[in-house]
Amino acid sequence: MFDVLTRILRTGICSEPLPRIETEQAANLQQRIWAVLGRALCIRQVDAGSCNGCELELHALNNPYYNLEGAGIKFVASPRHADLLLVTGPVSVNMEEALLRAYEAVPHPKLVVALGDCAACGGIFGESYATRGGVSRVLPVDRVVNGCPPAPPDILRAILEAAQGKRQALAAATAT
């Protein structure tokens, strides 16, 4: 136990400031998310045929450097608890139905972010008998993050921007 505590103390806090987004400080946005939702922005991630590279960078977002939860954002297990669906992969036909079901389960206004080149446009896999060629072929997409895989700060920025863009919609949804 003593070892563990020493280690935690010695490591200290290594979180870095949030990335700047176009129009405002991310820190302000965090307050606004709170003002609107009264809680964290909840994300359900769906791997719709990714190579797992995009997932690895999402894991990285949860490491202490990026301090995701400190930004008022967390990943949740159920789409029913989610404000935002974060989708990776070119949408394999074998995952299409599961993706659509997850989307159905997300409450309005159903933010969707397509993460990575594959989700954006099919990437190197394109459109085929086995892939639909990007998330927008299957669902309305609010924001796209390019990269293969995109770096964690880019992912964070896109999530924050998507939330910002839909703030009013989110406010309306929570008001009703």
């Binding site: 563990v4 791997d47 590279g53 299409e96």
Partner: protein
């Protein structure tokens, strides 16, 4: 493992075995239907292992369908080829001798429409996204064909008995994990049976390869399994370089090995954190994910990217290592070494963690051998199998890599193997830097003769990754098959979970951490 010509039977069977270009000793043998099985039997008897099974449409060349099986033997890779002529669409199943063949044969049927004579006729890669009679790898079928989904049932094997019920999990899981379906038959909390269903991330890779040039294929190979992109791209490039007799400059090989060991290290660090977390020790995740991030940032600075998707290129590597890293990297390793030792003693002495790790998900040596376990999972069940030693290619032939094994075959053993392999990987990196040859990092790939076939094989962090590559006319890809060791190792999990409780599944599953996309292709 088996030796070529080890028994009198062998010499007959292998009389017409010719050399096949590869980065390891490799031979190709043409077989008749009977020989197809005789070769397999002889190899089974001599402890050879079935690695990959794939097929190709050669009807336009007048040959029919070709079915290939590759085996790991003590003297190298042996590839057996069976030609199905005159509209023949059936071949003898290898599943009786090598149980791991079952799913590979089902996948081959989905893609090429040639069936083995095994009983399980359910689709593996084909769920309901394309029609039963559409076989993508047949020459007449185009990659860009789109079908509406037509749902059809998938009968899982059911377990009958008093108090038995089923739990269905997936394809979408609770965390940020790749998709797959697990069907548990349980009594109370105890697992009586687990049946896996995978294939959800199938992206038509084999057909997609056929639309690429040889010079571009490594980009797709690197994107089939994001956590193993260096191993995949290297295996592809090794096959291409063998095919075209391209000599890679030594410096490039050393840098590839450095990248491969960094990949091993990054995955092990990630897994060690996740395993702590799954056993209720969140500090483990925080600490290890921080260490992993340090390594990824170092990759970015030293090798040009956090994840080295583009690092391995045909003929060499993408970028050179600045001389300053010859001292800066070792400094990082020794720092990481100390951190790992500390975390190791925290893990070892944490009663709660050890209680969850020990005795959970035991895979006995006998079961591992019977099922053909590969890589890390095999080593944690006392099977010393590591191609960095067994088929030591340059630069591993100068590294004296230590094979890390553990006897217990439980989660704890797979944790210890990861800890020790991290230390060994850093020792290797250190040596690679000390011996780093000077010179070019790239040589221009030469022309690959149309129709030629080659293989490339690399020990990735999970186990051996194999690529079989055939050149088409004008430097195109005629066919390319990529094999992930998860084909062998997924069935192990179905055994390791037996008798354990359902809540331990995430931990046991994580301790194997097998590929979905890499296997689905």
């Amino acid at each position: 493992m088996a030796e070529f010509n080890a028994t009198p039977d062998f010499s007959g069977a292998f009389a017409n075995a010719g050399a096949l270009p590869s980065n390891v000793p490799c031979r190709l043998i043409e077989t008749s239907r009977e020989q197809w099985l005789r070769v397999a039997e002889a190899l089974r008897a001599a402890e050879g292992m079935l690695l990959a099974l794939w097929g190709h449409d050669e009807r336009d060349g007048g040959q029919g369908f070709l079915v290939y099986a590759s085996y790991l033997t003590a003297q190298g890779l042996l590839v057996a080829r069976l030609c199905l002529r005159n509209g023949d669409e059936r071949f003898p199943s290898l599943a009786r001798l090598f149980p791991c063949a079952v799913r590979m044969e089902r996948a081959l049927h989905d893609l090429l429409g040639v069936a083995s004579d095994q009983d399980d006729e359910r689709g593996w890669l084909r769920h309901f996204g394309w029609p039963r009679e559409f076989f993508p790898l047949r020459g007449e079928n185009r990659l860009q064909t789109s079908f509406p989904p037509t749902p059809e049932p998938y009968p899982f094997v059911s377990v009958e008995g008093e108090g038995v019920h089923e739990i269905a999990v997936g394809p979408i899981h609770a965390g940020i994990i790749e998709p797959g379906h697990f069907r548990f038959s349980v009594v109370g909390e105890k697992v009586l049976r687990l049946e896996e269903r995978l294939g959800y991330t199938h992206k038509g890779a084999a057909k997609r390869f056929q639309t690429l040039s040889l010079a571009a294929g490594h980009r797709l190979a690197a994107r089939l399994c994001g956590d193993s992109s260096v191993a995949y791209a290297w295996a592809y490039c090794a096959a291409l370089e063998a095919l075209s007799a391209t000599v890679v400059p030594p410096r490039a090989l050393w840098l590839r090995a450095l990248a491969l060991e960094h990949e091993r290290l990054a995955n092990h660090l990630g897994d060690l954190g996740a395993l702590g977390n799954d056993a209720g020790f969140a500090v483990g995740l925080t600490q290890f994910s921080r260490l992993k991030e340090d390594l990824l940032r170092l990759n970015q600075a030293a090798l040009g990217a956090r994840y080295l998707f583009n690092f391995v290129q045909p003929g060499g590597v993408e970028c050179d290592l600045d001389p300053k890293w010859a001292t800066d990297l070792p400094r990082f390793y020794s720092h990481l070494d100390t951190e790992l030792e500390q975390m190791r003693s925290i893990y070892d002495e944490h009663a709660g963690l050890q209680d969850r790790f020990r005795g959970a998900g035991v895979l006995s040596t006998a079961t591992a051998r019977r099922l053909g376990a590969l890589g890390l999972a095999a080593r944690a069940s006392a099977i010393p199998l590591d191609l960095r030693v067994d088929y030591a290619i340059a630069p591993y032939d100068r590294m004296r890599t230590k094979i890390v094994t553990q006897d217990a075959g439980d989660v704890a053993a797979r944790v210890v193997v990861r800890f020790q392999e991290c230390l060994e990987a850093m020792r290797l990196c250190q040596r690679l830097l000390e011996q780093l040859p000077s010179g070019d990092i790239h040589s221009a790939p030469r022309v690959a003769p149309s129709g030629a076939l080659a293989t490339g094989i690399i020990e990735g962090w999970r186990g051996p990754v194999m690529v079989a590559l055939q050149a088409g006319p004008s430097q195109s890809i005629r066919h390319c098959h990529v094999h992930d060791p998860s084909w062998q190792n997924w069935p192990l999990l179905e055994y390791a979970i037996l008798g354990n409780i359902v809540p331990d599944f995430p931990l046991i599953n994580k301790s194997f951490n097998l590929a979905y996309s890499g296997q689905d292709g």
